[in-house]
């Protein structure tokens, strides 16, 4: 009675845990490059790449920010972000745009920026 009960509990726990791991892994948003973004479905694709600063334009009329993003393979795409530009947008070099392809451009609802600021630059010990 005792042994079989704990075995059953153990198995159930194991199965439950696997299900949770599976649910998380299966439904997490993938990091993609431009080519993959064009083919993959999902509205939270993480598109990582370098931002071309000269292409950055902000329109307060349409409340959009747009720029050209070039991925690791050198392929580029126009990214349109709806909302106000995040702080220090113009300092960012590396960008992760979260969203999906809408026609010929990548429409993003969230931007993660990597800014090389003086604070992070020297974060390493000078020793």
């Amino acid at each position: 009675m005792k042994k079989s009960a704990s075995i059953v509990t153990g198995i159930l726990t194991g199965v439950g845990l696997c299900a949770v791991v599976f649910a998380f892994v299966k439904n997490s948003s993938p990091y993609v490059n431009v080519a993959e973004a064009r083919t993959r479905a999902g509205d939270s694709l993480h598109l990582a790449g370098d931002m071309d600063k000269s292409s950055l334009s902000v329109s307060v009329m349409t409340h959009t920010v747009s720029f050209r993003l070039t991925d690791e393979n050198g392929e580029s795409v126009n990214v349109v972000y709806k909302g106000i530009p995040p702080a220090n947008m113009s300092d960012a070099t590396q960008v992760v745009a979260i969203g999906s392809m809408k026609g010929d451009h990548f429409e993003s609802h969230k931007l993660l920026l990597k800014c090389p600021s003086k604070y992070e630059d020297k974060a390493n010990n000078p020793t």
């Binding site: 709806k82 702080a87 604070y119 974060a123």
Partner: protein, 788 residues
């Protein structure tokens, strides 16, 4: 400032640095001595004393570093990195813990303080508690010898010069939360060490029956402090970072949330053990788990394996410190598992036959259900935050979205809340379902009634209607629920818990203070959860731009920018915005200022929050923009058609392209002037403007800007003389500020709830401490009380 030459470091300051280093060594040695003396049972009085000396060593090292910060000793690299002359005193102090070395020191110091106080009430577990604790503190002291905050910046000669100014804290950190949040949460982490050490010593002492009253005040304290610390982090994010929310399931947030859930599970497991004399092993496990989970979370967030999936731009730990952290974490796991196996035969309890007086609706099983659900909550969240790490091992990079956490955790939330609402009404003894239901009817009715009121409020005109696009159906059991229904169900669950806890609180307050404080904490938690869910679920956002000449609408309010309150280089600079609406007017003052950056100035922004009764209006501002439109193309009337516009509308007026003129000849060696005539009409008035471009004989392009009223200028950006097509941009004369305005109902409940929860928790911890002391005292007298 430039006329000051670097000064020689004062001898006393070098002494303070040496003292700090010495304190770390003292802490290390004293902890080792204490552990060795206790293990060998040589001299227990001195063993206990060395433990206190070790704890004081941490405090001394911390104080030394604080002195270096307050007196601007920039010759120390750590001070140089995290402080500057212009920082106010509170930020000088906060500098101590704003880097990696200082965080370790803070962790060590807070653990040492918690340990030094906790050890006095450990009774028969004192020996092994101290050994485990001393070994841990010795490890931290060891890490601090490698990762020392007392290292000098490189000096050229034998003399020590003080750099003129330090780097300073990142401007986004300069607010009061950086002062209060880290010490609070790290004290919470420190108390986790107490629970861990208790767990191991209970196993090693072969007595897992009598430790609960002793550890209980610390578990409750840990719960309250970690809870308040977590909430502070959320408030920080909400108030200052402009993310628009309290919580985003970010890995750094999860690192403190997961252990907190495990501590709640432990606190409830203790009730089962005290009342039913079972769950001995489960509680040993629950007590050790939070500390292990915390080490694991810190490893995940600091190792860099999470890569881009966090909005916190935390520094990666250098590999040496990381390896030490992994070592501490693994030693903790091995120590726990090893001790459990080693002592298994002594502490294992015979399988309990079912208590005939107990049904599933008795308090014991409900506590058990609650504790396991809480543990599941912790583990599910931990799985979520490990996903990027797990997939990275498989060579893929993914990130779990915030919504995914909700999708998974929502399976646990309703049963957990129902348990929480019912449990206070259930007795330990057997009891019928009808009896229970009759007891609960009142709470049920009141909570449903209150949700009814919320529904009325939702339908009232003062409440903004959820926009259609936001009504994403929630998938659950293959049911598609509209957001409004779903949020109301969740709100009702919270309301049910709040009402039934408050009810029981009022019933208990005279009879049993301890139960009353617990109910108070439950009430606060339910209130805070309700605020989080409601304000998030019915949140609405509009993106606008404010300007000093044209008004903008947001949520039925009219906004007009009124200029800045200071200059852009001032840390207190705000953009004043007049907001007028049906309930009267006020001035919203989101902050915006610039600090020197690497290539160009860096913007720092603060949101502004206006509390209007139960509703928060949240204003997040962006950097000034001068372009009112992008470049737009116009074609001559005769070419006008689909995709070839001749007329465009902008805000209140229309622009019509009339004609194109060109004076001079290209390549003739003279200036060429090209102008485009536009007819502008604002409905009542019509007038003409002529923006143009001059190309001088030496090839320069000069724009001729045309003004529209006092608000805009037109710039001709491109002309094609052959087709006469032109492009132009409309600029603002005064800048516009892009803005996001959020409507967040019931946000007040979050603040209120956390306050009540924290207070309830602290009162309960104080009460449990009195209990524990009473037990300790009676033990000194008769040594038997709890054994009977």
């Amino acid at each position: 400032m430039s006329d000051r030459a670097p000064a020689l470091a004062a001898p006393w300051s070098l002494f303070v640095g040496d003292l700090g280093r010495a304190f770390v060594i003292v802490a290390l040695l004293a902890c080792v001595v204490s552990a060795v003396l206790f293990i060998t049972k040589k001299n227990e009085r001195w063993a206990a004393r060395s433990f206190t000396i070790g704890a004081l060593g941490f405090v001394g090292a911390f104080a030394s570093l604080a002195v270096l910060f307050v007196t601007h000793q920039f010759q120390y690299a750590y001070v140089f990195e995290h402080s500057a002359l212009n920082h106010e005193i509170q930020y000088l102090i906060a500098g101590v813990w704003s880097g990696q070395q200082g965080s370790f020191l803070l962790w060590g110091t807070m653990s040492a303080i918690a340990g030094a106080f906790a050890v006095r009430g450990t009774g028969k577990y004192r020996r092994w508690f101290t050994i485990v604790y001393a070994v841990f503190l010795a490890c931290i002291a060891g890490i601090l010898m490698y990762e020392s905050p007392f290292i000098m910046v490189p000096q050229s000669g034998s003399q020590v010069f003080v750099p003129l100014d330090g780097n300073g804290l990142s401007p986004s950190l300069l607010n009061y939360w950086v002062v209060v949040h880290p010490p609070t949460i790290f004290f919470g982490f420190g108390t986790l060490t107490v629970l861990f050490a208790y767990s191991l010593s209970a196993m090693i002492e072969r007595d897992v029956k009598n430790w609960i009253p002793l550890v209980r005040p610390w578990a409750v304290l840990s719960l309250a402090v970690l809870g308040v610390g977590l909430a502070m982090g959320g408030f920080w994010a909400y108030e200052t970072l402009g993310w628009g929310g309290f919580w985003a399931w970010d890995p750094v947030e999860n690192t403190s949330f997961v252990p907190w859930c495990a501590v709640i599970a432990f606190v409830h497991g203790m009730f089962v053990q005290q009342a039913k004399k079972k769950w001995f092993i489960a509680n040993v496990f629950f007590a050790a788990l939070p500390f292990i989970l915390f080490c694991y979370g810190t490893f995940l967030t600091r190792s860099g394996v999470l890569g881009n999936s966090s909005v916190h731009s935390f520094a990666q730990m250098d590999s040496k410190a990381l390896r030490l952290l992994i070592a501490v974490g693994s030693v903790a796991i091995f120590a726990f598992v090893g001790t459990l196996i080693w002592r298994w035969s002594d502490i294992k309890t015979p399988f309990m036959e079912k208590d005939p007086d107990e049904t599933l609706l008795s308090r014991g099983p409900l506590y058990a259900v609650g504790a396991w659900f809480l543990l599941a909550f912790a583990i599910f969240t931990a799985v979520g935050m490990s996903v990027p790490f797990m997939t990275a091992l498989m060579g893929r990079q993914v990130a779990p979205d915030e919504g995914l956490y909700h999708q998974v955790l929502v399976w646990l939330f309703p049963p957990l809340m129902l348990t929480m609402a019912i449990a206070p009404y259930v007795s330990w003894k057997k009891q019928g379902a009808t009896d229970l239901f009759s007891k609960m009817t009142n709470s049920l009715a009141v909570s449903l009634g209150l949700v009814g009121f919320l529904l009325l409020w939702l339908k009232s005109p003062s409440f903004q209607k959820p926009p259609a696009t936001e009504a994403i159906p929630v998938k659950l059991f293959h049911l598609h629920l509209p957001v409004v229904t779903w949020i109301l169900i969740l709100t009702w669950l919270c309301m049910f818990v709040a009402v039934s806890s408050l009810w029981r609180f009022l019933e208990h307050i005279r009879k049993s203070k301890m139960s009353a404080w617990a109910m108070m904490a439950h009430f606060g938690l339910a209130l805070a959860l309700m605020g989080l869910i409601f304000s998030r679920g019915f949140e609405q956002k509009v993106t606008i731009a404010v300007h000093n000449k044209e008004t903008t609408e947001a949520f039925g309010r009219t906004l007009l920018e009124k200029g800045q309150t200071s200059v852009f280089s001032d840390r207190n600079n705000k953009i004043a915005i007049n907001v007028s609406g049906p309930e009267g007017g006020y001035t919203a003052k989101p902050g915006l200022y610039y600090v020197p950056g690497k290539d160009k100035p860096m913007a720092v922004k603060w949101p502004y929050i206006h509390h209007e009764g139960l509703i928060d209006y949240y204003y997040a501002i962006g950097e000034p923009v001068f372009d009112a439109t992008g470049e737009s193309e116009f074609y001559p009337k005769e070419q006008a058609g689909e995709g070839h516009p001749n007329l465009r509308a902008y805000k209140g007026f229309t622009l019509q392209y009339e004609s194109f003129q060109m004076e001079g000849k290209m390549g003739s060696g003279e200036d060429v002037t090209m102008t485009a005539r536009f007819m502008i009409s604002d409905g009542t008035d019509a007038f003409e403007v002529e923006p143009g471009i001059v190309i001088t004989k030496d090839g320069q392009r000069l724009p001729i800007l045309a003004r529209i009223q006092d608000t805009y200028t037109l710039e001709l950006t491109r002309v094609d003389p052959s087709t006469k097509a032109v492009s132009l941009i409309i600029h603002y004369i005064n800048p516009a500020y892009p803005m996001e305005v959020y409507f967040k109902p019931l946000t007040l409940f979050v603040w209120l709830g956390i306050g009540i929860m924290g207070l309830g928790g602290l009162l309960a911890a104080a009460g449990r401490r009195r209990e524990a002391r009473a037990i300790a005292r009676s033990k000194h007298g008769a040594e038997t009380t709890s054994q009977v």
